[in-house]
């Protein structure tokens, strides 16, 4: 292979580079970093743009609000959208109280004991468990052992445990960000510890907590593997009526229509991907807005 010209060129460049002044080398270095960042950022922009370009034509009120027809090839995404909304809500119901409670514990009550270290370790580990392993766990515990069957309940519980670490960590950060002076003043005025937490610290930390909750729910809304065995169905004749029902869900729906349904118009596949993206990214935007309002309005 004609490697040699290239090798020579590289060697020459290195020799020259070593002779150039430090300033120029620095500029080159910064440029390199900038290029790397562009390599990271640009493909995402392109890919998202591609989805928008290909899928925008499929979006219509009918696409969003109607039931699917013709073996999913026409009609709308309504049951999948409703399903994802229900699962997100279910996740919030189970994950938010527990998550915020643990965050309160870690931020306000815990001492630096071995137990606390183990709890923190457990949280980091819960965050690292692969999503498909959560699916297995949900199958084993909620679907089979507790006999909930494949249901919104099982799916929500599985997603909730998966979302806990995110909520706990951001909530704890938000609680810790409240300056100690607030607590001191409250206690010196005769409030108990719990009253201080409940009436002073938590309300101040609320926007930060909310940001974490939204980001966590965004992750839960987009996950497929945990719901594969615990709740998702390919086609259901009607919307779910109880928490023991199965449901369709957007991520699973995208997976199915892009890999399993023949003759699925590509436009509809991209349209579904776009709807899922919009759903998830709008939560991102809400979280970002909450976070910046938090920064603007906070009292310290």
């Amino acid at each position: 292979m004609d490697d040699f010209p290239a090798g020579e060129a590289v060697r020459t460049i290195i020799v020259i580079a070593m002779k150039i002044s430090r300033q120029i080398r620095q500029q080159l270095g910064f440029a390199l970093l900038g290029i790397t960042t562009v390599i990271v950022v640009l493909p995402i922009l392109l890919l998202v743009g591609y989805i928008v370009a290909q899928g925008a034509s499929a979006i219509s009120w009918d696409f969003i609000a109607a039931m699917p027809r013709d073996g999913m090839r026409a009609g709308g995404l309504w049951p999948a959208i409703v399903g994802t909304l229900l699962l997100t809500l279910g996740t919030a119901v189970f994950a938010v109280p527990v998550g915020v409670a643990v965050a309160v514990y870690l931020a306000e009550y815990a001492q630096d004991t071995l137990l606390t270290r183990i709890i923190r370790l457990a949280i980091v580990n819960l965050a690292g468990v692969p999503s498909v392993v959560y699916g297995l766990f949900g199958l084993g515990l909620f679907v089979i052992f507790l006999q909930f069957g494949a249901s919104i309940l099982a799916g929500s519980l599985t997603l909730a445990i998966m979302t806990l670490p995110v909520i706990i960590s951001t909530a704890e950060e938000a609680l810790r960000a409240v300056p100690q002076s607030f607590r001191i003043v409250s206690l010196s005025l005769g409030g108990t510890k719990w009253q201080t937490v409940r009436r002073v610290v938590l309300p101040q930390a609320l926007p930060g907590v909310l940001t974490g909750v939204i980001l966590g729910l965004e992750r839960a809304a987009g996950e497929t593997a945990p719901i594969l065995f615990t709740v998702a169905a390919f086609f259901l004749p009607r919307l779910p009526q109880s928490i023991f029902d199965q449901t369709m869900a957007l991520p699973y729906h995208l997976f199915v229509i892009s890999t399993q349904v023949p003759g699925m118009p590509v436009r509809i596949q991209y349209g579904t991907a776009l709807v899922l993206l919009i759903f998830v990214l709008s939560m991102n935007i809400v979280a970002a807005i909450t976070r910046s309002r938090f920064r603007a309005k906070r009292q310290w």
């Binding site: 027809r69 189970f94 409670a101 309940l153 409030g191 009436r199 390919f234 699925m264």
Partner: protein, 306 residues
């Protein structure tokens, strides 16, 4: 904060959290104990669970949609996952009608009996397994022994069978697919029950029929197999002969019904015991002229209805 005594909404928020947690857990236990009584499938509100073969799933979907528009009281929930999935569900008691593109194996029958389930087989359509390649592929005919060599990895280049000098990319369904099992037994093993040869480990196992189609459509190196109903005009089917001497027969409704096409099979639905009530009505409808008309429309081979 502390100088705003009237903020009851914060109270509600923060005070009830631990109480909410405990209530939720009690609720959980209570919910676990009282399930809604499992009604007969098909009766008011309880859907017939129709799970299984990905080959059959679009047919099952079309049937379910049409049947439900005609009988608004009927409720049928359709899911794929492969023949193995449907049969496993039937054995576990979570599925009412299992779609299968292969027959149940002896071990599965035993497992069902152990669980108190008596599977009953119903033939609901017939199917040809088409061998598909990219339209630009010059190869038109292949024999069963050649197909066996190709899919077991003994032949690896298209030039060995009269094509271009390209590596052969093997596409298959996942191992839970009835189509996969059928192809393994009838084509790779040439019907020999005692053979132990397997698909080549380089075979790509696609999540479903559409996965195979998508790859065949765009990759000139590929060869795959799938139900006739999944073949689209932008793919090329191979005419197959049982051996080197025999006639090369392309797959179609006629060649399946006449028995000329060597890779044809029945498609099944399994129920627990003889079907009753709503399930029986649905199965009868499927086997009627109306139901079988849909079979033809989707590219499968309708049963001959008396």
């Amino acid at each position: 904060m502390i100088d705003r005594p009237g903020r009851w909404c914060y109270n509600l928020n923060s005070m009830h959290k631990p109480i909410a947690v405990s209530i939720l857990f009690i609720l959980l236990i209570v919910l676990a104990a009282c399930r809604p009584a499992a009604g007969e499938a098909g009766e008011a509100g309880v859907a017939i669970q129709n799970v299984g073969s990905d080959t059959i799933v679009n047919l099952a979907l079309a049937w379910a949609e049409t049947y439900q528009t005609q009988n608004p009281d009927a409720r049928i929930a359709v899911t794929g996952g492969g023949s193995g999935t449907g049969i496993a569900g039937l054995i576990n008691g979570t599925v009412n009608i299992a779609n299968a593109s292969r027959q149940m194996k002896a071990e599965e029958m035993e497992a069902a009996e152990e669980n108190g389930i008596t599977p009953v087989e119903h033939v609901i359509a017939r199917d040809a397994i088409a061998v598909i390649v990219h339209p630009s592929n010059p190869v038109d005919n292949l024999t069963l022994p050649q197909l066996s060599d190709i899919f077991s990895g003994r032949i690896t280049n298209w030039s060995e069978i009269g094509g271009e000098d390209r590596p052969i990319v093997l596409l298959s369904r996942e191992s839970n697919s009835g189509t996969h099992v059928y192809f393994l037994e009838q084509v790779v093993r040439l019907g020999d029950k005692h053979a132990s040869i397997l698909f080549s480990p380089d075979t790509l196992l696609m999540p479903s029929s559409e996965g195979i189609s998508a790859e065949v459509r765009q990759n000139p190196n590929s060869i795959g197999y799938d139900g006739l109903g999944y073949v689209t005009p932008d793919q090329k089917t191979i005419a197959v002969a049982a051996d080197a001497g025999g006639p090369f027969v392309p797959p179609s409704i006629e060649t399946v019904n006449s028995g000329a096409y060597p890779i044809a099979r029945d498609l099944y639905m399994y129920t627990n015991g003889e079907p009753q009530g709503a399930i029986a009505e649905y199965l009868n409808w499927i086997r009627s002229t109306e139901g079988q008309k849909i079979v033809g429309e989707l590219g499968f081979v309708p049963l001959e209805v008396e």
